[in-house]
Point group: C2
Chain length 759, copies 2
């Protein structure tokens, strides 16, 4: 039992405030420079792991296991070539899908006082598993997101053996070795193979796991929620939960910038407690570039009848109001009878301010999520922020991330759209699937709903498209809506993306079936949001050199190595290398380096074009999220902006330019021009900031010569002003490239430039 | 306490099987020719009612009250002209909106044995009310759909006074005297005024109400549900609930055609019971014209430890499987990137068969729903069935009907789409509104979900349109979805109508803004379902004579009387009389009779055109429901097919023709032709039946002369076959009308004919 002074020693309290559920981890894992002086109540375990064909068997051999991690990584030494990133080396793991794995940890019974108990605790075991203590089955579970908590005390001996047996990877069918095998489980589908992810399905203990000594009196359940008034001035704070003791006191303190701002106590009554109160003068949590992502420190204590703090939880929380509201212009009455419905709302409104969401689709940063750390998340999130991204769509093919991901997004002011792990399949109305879905989704929603960064729940990816076949009537999606409503009514829920009015695609620079390039596509298209759009490029030479055998480097061809790394056969045409498209514009490449440079150039131009075009259409269009931000392993070619593990492609700088809050911008109807044509563009002043910008002058330059100018007026916050059309006779040009520049004299940071091809 | 032999005397059991909750009504109210030999445990009450300005007051005068009914009708004698249907007489009721009403019933304490209790029970009190016994407040409730059950026993005296005080009509604002005043309550919005309903808001006890003597042991709660297997062969039957006694036995028997087919017992355990079992060889419930609407008889008994049946419930139930599935052709891949989503599914599939739903929008058949009886429902439902209608959309502006409505639909095989009472308003995310909504909706869903006739739940009417402004994020609709999912997962839920791909309108024969008639609109339009389309006509002369002062009969003009009865000022143009449209086609009418004949002719032609055109587009279009079937009071002009109370308009016969399961049909591009033109039509053979029809010959006749023919092939069940185009030189015609006939020699019942104008 830990004893903490209840008053006075606030500094001590602060030391532990960052740890959401304090028992799990040493504080240094979170990377804070604080010293945790509490008595520890955790006991780490040493693990081994092995495989076996039948559940009843035991492994022939035990390998040292890293927890959290993945069984595949623990067995790396068994592979012919442990560098599984190279060529098609990932195929070496295939056999591991169909065997059982058992983890083993032996430990001695710790010293427990009379009223103490020993729990086995894990934040995630992937996917179906059983837990045994000294031969007795303690827990069976299907699902990697529901925390595990097993009281070991009654069966403890002096020397104990803890076993965790993991079932083979779930597969709903044996006909197809693809994502369809994931359509009856709550396991992320991506690892069953995707056009940018190898077929490699992780298994094992993938999040923090330890033994924990608990007092007889502890917090069995606790739920915190708040309601913020519409003016963002005051919040009603509510905490309720269950104690293991039928009496005692529950106590909540809240601090802002180290100052106590709230304190409330309530008696435990018949094992349950409930307290509420008002917090005034709220400092709202604002996303990055809109304000400060202010967080409050919460400390909740359970106090025994004799005044001892027997358990406590500490966390950070911010207060914000989020809604999805109708896009401006989307509710214009439909002119024709019969009339259908308005488009669904897709503009994010944060703290009563409508915003254009600039962002990206976040995918698993590792094939094996078990090795993800706060540091890995942090380096990637810094890169996202570096491009002015304010929204991450955490795509439904992947995992729900570990807690440090959300903590970082809260702190950095990056908004998160969280999908449940359903993607591109028809998840059935099957009772056993729905039972797992309800349990897992409830765990996820209850755990995450208080993160201020979380602004959208989504059922999953592309479920209402022909390749998936789910509908508004699918029970899985109705249950997810219902579970989010019950536990997280303050956060919008969408059944999937895209919904009506929202677009996914295109994923290439030029569509030969339509004879349409990305500028042309954007010029005609009219969407409330673009929540996926891709633009592939090859990876840097250094990466390709590491994953492709040297004799295959140039010219590239659809060998197993190039295909394994998504250069060929990933999707339509020659994706994702797109040599056909490069050849159309630039001719045949003479070296790998030239091919890569050309591909990366088109990627930069294409991404910049889409982000800017979407922003030009604000407020009707209110969101632009590229596909995709990162990648889980080194690829030969991919739509990613960030190469594995955290390396910028050149498009990083182009996107950063296209997402500046305030900027000059040009509406450009196409990429490829002929010298017999007149270049026609339109000017726009984009103000995505919260402040009015003064009137000024925008100059238009073509290949270094001034051709026109526009005296633009004052532009209000979060508004665009459309300027005049500008025309230019291309006959005069000598170059292969049109270098179009928009210059704002005296405000060079608002300048923009564009590269277009001319023949 | 009633004692029933538990075995052997099945005939006695059958006598009571029809009564869903046996205690409420004498069996003869349901119209069955059975004799109920049970001891009665109900005690009717004699009621008086009066009004007062403040809640604390008592009425100055008491009027005899009819229960169920409405306070307005009890106070008819206070009106200057009690014939409130005449002219604008409905305005006499306006003052009653803003006063309190109190019902009073005095009764003597009945003889109760030691373990008996006396309950006050009501199936509906409209809208907000308080119940007092001998001056003590027993219950407060907001909401007219949650049954009331009050144990009066503890406060009973020899002479008792029961008071029910009804609050003034709920109004969320005083600015507008219209439907917007209903936007914070769960009260049907229609009575606040609609383009076919007077502003007249009912109040009072509107459904069955009595005292009831209960044993100490009774069924406190009971829920029955089933799961039917996909092959429709076997059902899992589940009953669970709560007894007032912690011990005893629960017993369920099921009979089909008087033969026992299921029997199961289960012990009551700590006040709750739960039993389940399989029923084999299911005879599914089929809608009208698809098969038999077979029903099973259920008898549930609660049996005390000494073998006495202390309480029981009996009901009828049918087994069917219902889904909303994707319309054929609606999931074709969208050709253009960016891609959005598939249209939501809108084809009803009943017992694994996709159907075209032919039907109508059902509105309250009375301004005061309290006076609705089984007989009123029955005469209207027979008329619906007479037009081959298989689906009624019970529109969300009105009430959820009384139980006899659903019993009749079950028995007659008519499917019901039930909306919750939300319509054309923006119902808010307000916690107090949501609390009432959740309570009321849960009551409705738990009570109705087992009716086999019920095939769609809908959040309400036109909530995603610009005039309402709700969205997919509105908490009210998310809660309704969630409540339906929890208690009625087997029935599809849609948030509102129209959803994406579904159309509402048009409501006139000719749109002068578009210069488009109903044939032209249908020729171009492409919807998965048409769930509202109107075609107005004047009512019969006899009705108009009763509601319009004689000196205003002809020519009609926008007087208060004509406006009150929706002939003018109801909607756009001169609706619903549409003299402008009649004049366009026929010139100025010379008499009221001629005007009515013309209007009713256009209505017949227009409705026939829409039903047939929608059916021609099967399977992409899968539903056609006109606006509206009936009306709550006599109108001068309206879109209704059935005039108040239950009189056919001439369009009845035209619609009946257009909805025959099998028929010849013509695709007609427009209504008004010129003699310089060539009439061009296309032929279709429609087979909406479950059986293949053999090949045959279709002859095309124009004004009595054969002009073409088509040898049509065999047509499979639920399929159409498109035939050739037919052309005809109109120059030859001498008449004002084109009389187009399609004749099937030897199968005259499949013939069709059309009237088109020619100049």
């Amino acid at each position: 039992m830990r004893t903490i002074h209840r008053k006075g020693n606030y500094s001590l309290l602060f030391l532990i405030l960052f740890v959401q559920i304090n028992c799990f981890m040493p504080a240094e894992v979170f990377g804070y420079n604080t010293e945790d002086t509490r008595e520890t109540n955790q006991i780490p375990l040493s693990w081994e792991v092995g495989f076996h064909k039948e559940k009843s068997q035991t492994p022939d051999r035990w390998y040292t296991a890293t927890v959290p991690g993945a069984v595949q990584l623990d067995l790396l030494s068994t592979l012919e070539n442990p560098d599984w990133h190279f060529a098609d080396g990932y195929k070496q793991f295939i056999w591991m899908e169909d065997v059982f794995f058992t983890y083993r940890a032996n430990f001695q019974k710790p010293v427990l006082s009379a009223n103490q108990q020993l729990f086995f605790i894990s934040k995630g075991i992937d996917y179906r598993f059983e837990i045994y203590l000294n031969g007795t089955l303690m827990l069976e579970q299907e699902g990697m997101f529901t925390h595990v908590e097993v009281n070991l005390t009654p069966l403890l001996k002096k020397d104990n053996e803890l076993l965790v047996t993991i079932y083979p990877v779930p597969k709903s069918n044996q006909r197809h070795t693809d994502r369809s095998q994931a359509d009856h489980s709550f396991k992320p589908a991506v690892s069953y193979g995707w056009d940018w992810h190898p077929r490699l399905v992780p298994s094992g203990i993938w999040d923090e796991t330890c033994l924990e000594v608990r007092n007889a009196d502890y917090i069995k359940e606790m739920d915190y929620s708040y309601e913020l008034d519409q003016k963002l001035e005051a919040a009603t704070i509510m905490v309720q939960g269950i104690s293991s003791n039928q009496k005692g006191t529950a106590r909540l303190e809240i601090y802002f910038n180290n100052n106590p701002v709230f304190e409330k106590e309530s008696e435990v009554n018949n094992f349950s407690f409930s307290l509420s109160g008002n917090l005034e003068d709220i400092h709202p949590w604002w996303p990055y570039e809109m304000g400060n992502p202010d967080l409050y420190d919460f400390n909740f204590e359970l106090i025994s009848s004799d005044g001892i703090v027997v358990d406590h939880k500490s966390w950070k929380n911010g207060f914000r109001r989020v809604r999805l509201v109708e896009n401006r212009g989307a509710i214009a009455p439909n002119e024709l009878f019969p009339k259908s419905r308005n488009e669904p709302p897709f503009t994010l409104e944060i703290n009563n301010v409508r915003i254009f969401a600039k962002g990206t689709n976040w995918v698993n940063p590792e094939v094996f999520p078990g090795i993800l750390t706060r540091e890995r998340y942090e380096e990637l999130l810094e890169l996202a922020k570096g491009m002015h991204f304010n929204l991450l769509r955490v795509w439904g093919g992947g995992i729900v991330n570990k807690e440090s991901f959300f903590e970082l997004c809260n702190e950095m002011g990056i908004m998160v759209w969280q999908e449940f792990p359903l993607a591109c399949n028809n998840y059935p109305d099957d009772p056993s699937y729905l039972t797992v879905l309800k349990k897992e989704a409830t765990s996820i929603v209850k755990r995450l709903h208080n993160n201020p960064c979380l602004v959208i729940w989504s059922g999953g990816n592309e479920l209402f498209n022909s390749w998936s076949g789910m509908t508004d009537q699918s029970l899985a999606l109705r249950w997810l809506n219902s579970i989010c409503l019950e536990h997280s009514p303050g956060i919008p829920f969408i059944p999937t993306s895209p919904v009506m009015g929202v677009g996914h695609g295109h994923y290439i620079f030029y569509d030969k079936n339509k004879d349409e390039d990305v500028f042309q596509m954007m010029y005609r298209s009219h969407y409330t949001a673009l929540t996926e759009f891709g633009m592939p490029s090859p990876s840097d030479p250094e990466i390709i050199h590491k994953i492709i055998p040297e004799n295959e480097w140039f010219p590239p061809s659809p060998t197993e190595a190039w295909k394994a790394h998504h250069a060929y056969g990933a999707w339509v045409g020659e994706t994702w290398l797109c040599t056909d498209i490069l050849e159309k514009y630039f001719g045949k490449a003479q070296s790998l380096e030239q091919l890569i440079e050309w591909g990366q150039t088109l990627q930069s131009i294409g991404y910049k074009a889409i982000y800017e075009s979407a922003r030009q259409k604000w407020p009707y269009c209110s969101m632009a999220l590229n596909w995709c931000f990162n990648e889980p392993w080194p690829t030969a070619a991919n739509n990613s902006i960030i190469q594995y593990p955290a390396l910028q492609k050149p498009c990083f700088e182009a996107i950063k330019q296209a997402c500046r809050p305030v900027m000059a911008s040009a509406v450009i109807p196409k990429f490829l021009w002929y010298k017999t044509e007149v270049l026609k563009i339109n000017l726009v002043m984009i103000n995505g900031s919260g402040e009015t910008i003064p009137e000024g002058k925008m100059e238009v330059w073509v290949n270094g010569r001034p051709v026109d100018q526009w005296d633009y007026p004052e532009v209000q916050a979060n508004r665009n002003v459309n300027g005049p059309a500008v025309e230019y006779q291309l006959l005069e040009l000598k170059d292969q490239w049109i270098n179009l520049e928009l210059r704002i004299p005296g405000n060079n940071e608002l300048n923009s430039d564009y590269k277009l091809l001319v023949r």
